[in-house]
Amino acid sequence: MNHLNEEQLIDVLMEEPDGQTFKKHLADCDICNERYHTLELGLNAARENKPAIPLMPVPRISYEKFRKKSLTTRLTWLAAAAALMLSFSGFRMEMGRGNGGVAISFSLPGLSSNNDSGRVAELEQKLEQKLEMLDNKLLYNDRRIAAWAEDYELFKEESTEFRHSVGFTHEGMDMQFQQIKDLAWKTDIEKQRSKGLLKNERPIQ
């Protein structure tokens, strides 16, 4: 007969219903008996080391307690999420200890006032500063544009003077271009005539 496997040995050891059928084999087989003896020693050792349960108070667990705790936890998370959202929207959160306990206040970044009129005054002041800065910038840009315009006029004058000095004008250029065009056309007509390609010859202008 085959030796008992791990499961069968445990069934015998723990007196499981299936274990009864393997007991006879255990009595006849030295190898299985040795293995069983080791397990038995292990079981006894584990039982001897079983931690004794001391007297302990019954834990106070109730639905109501957990519900309140859960609600508090949810509210805390909700408040934290709201504070995070406000801080992302540009608000600054400040925590401090007041007379009534811990106080949390929100203000826009860069503003020190915590009341509405103070905030408005600060915002107006900041707006004025911004407008002044913008004015200065526009003035600066106007001056730059005026300087560019002046430079352009100067360049134009210098350019015209230069063209006059070398006798090169737009009108002169146009005339020269027309003469070159006429010459090219006449040459082309002459070539066609010599080859006898012209049938209805037009008078040369």
Binding site: R35, A46, E48, K50, I53, P54, I61
Partner: protein, 194 residues
């Protein structure tokens, strides 16, 4: 309401019936506390862990679909919590050992070594077995706790650990074989001396 089955109480608790939840807690809190204590061997810690376990059960009760018994689910959460705790504790101990190696001494170890030395002759095996028990892999240890200490059936343990019964028995075999092996070695040595 006390006479209702677990499944009926769970359904009522899922509908917000606080009394049903309290009855379930009353039914199992002592067993859960004992189970947890067998793992951590510290009553204050066990009570804290039991609170955490029931908080988890409270939070996840709505999602419990009754695929396993409520008690199996509860004990599964408890066993997993205990294993997690022991893992964290082991990690802390290892970190403490690193400090020991770094600084060259550890006050806790000094006390322990004195305590062990006092009882060395008569409790040598017990210390070894205790160490071996503490050093067992998590699932083997869980089977020892549930089967030998808490006297649960193999079917219940299998459902709690979500493993086949044969695997549970095999784990118990390995655990007891490890513990028995320690004592067998001593037997052989004594026989050899005689």
């Amino acid at each position: 309401m006390e006479q209702l089955l677990d499944t009926e109480l769970v359904k009522l608790a899922q509908r917000g019936e606080g009394r049903a939840f309290d009855i379930l807690v009353g039914r199992y809190q002592t067993r859960v506390t004992h189970l947890v204590y067998r793992y951590v061997k510290d009553s204050d810690l066990a009570l804290d862990l039991v609170q955490d376990i029931f908080v988890k059960i409270f939070r996840n009760l709505v999602r419990f679909k009754g695929e396993s018994k409520f008690s199996s689910w509860l004990f599964r959460v408890a066993v997993n919590d205990c294993i997690d705790y022991l893992r964290r504790a082991k990690l802390r101990k290892e970190q403490s050992l690193d400090r020991y190696q770094e600084f060259g001494f550890d006050v806790a170890d000094e006390h322990r070594s004195v305590r062990v030395a006092e009882n060395l002759e008569d409790k040598e095996d017990r210390v070894r077995v205790n160490r071996a028990l503490a050093g067992l892999p998590d699932k083997q240890r869980s089977v020892v706790v549930m089967k030998i200490y808490e006297d649960m059936t193999f079917d219940d343990i299998a459902e709690i650990l979500e493993e086949p019964v044969s695997t549970v028995k095999s784990r118990l075999y390995k655990a007891l074989n490890t513990l028995g092996g320690i004592l067998r070695r001593r037997e052989f040595i004594e026989r050899g001396v005689q």
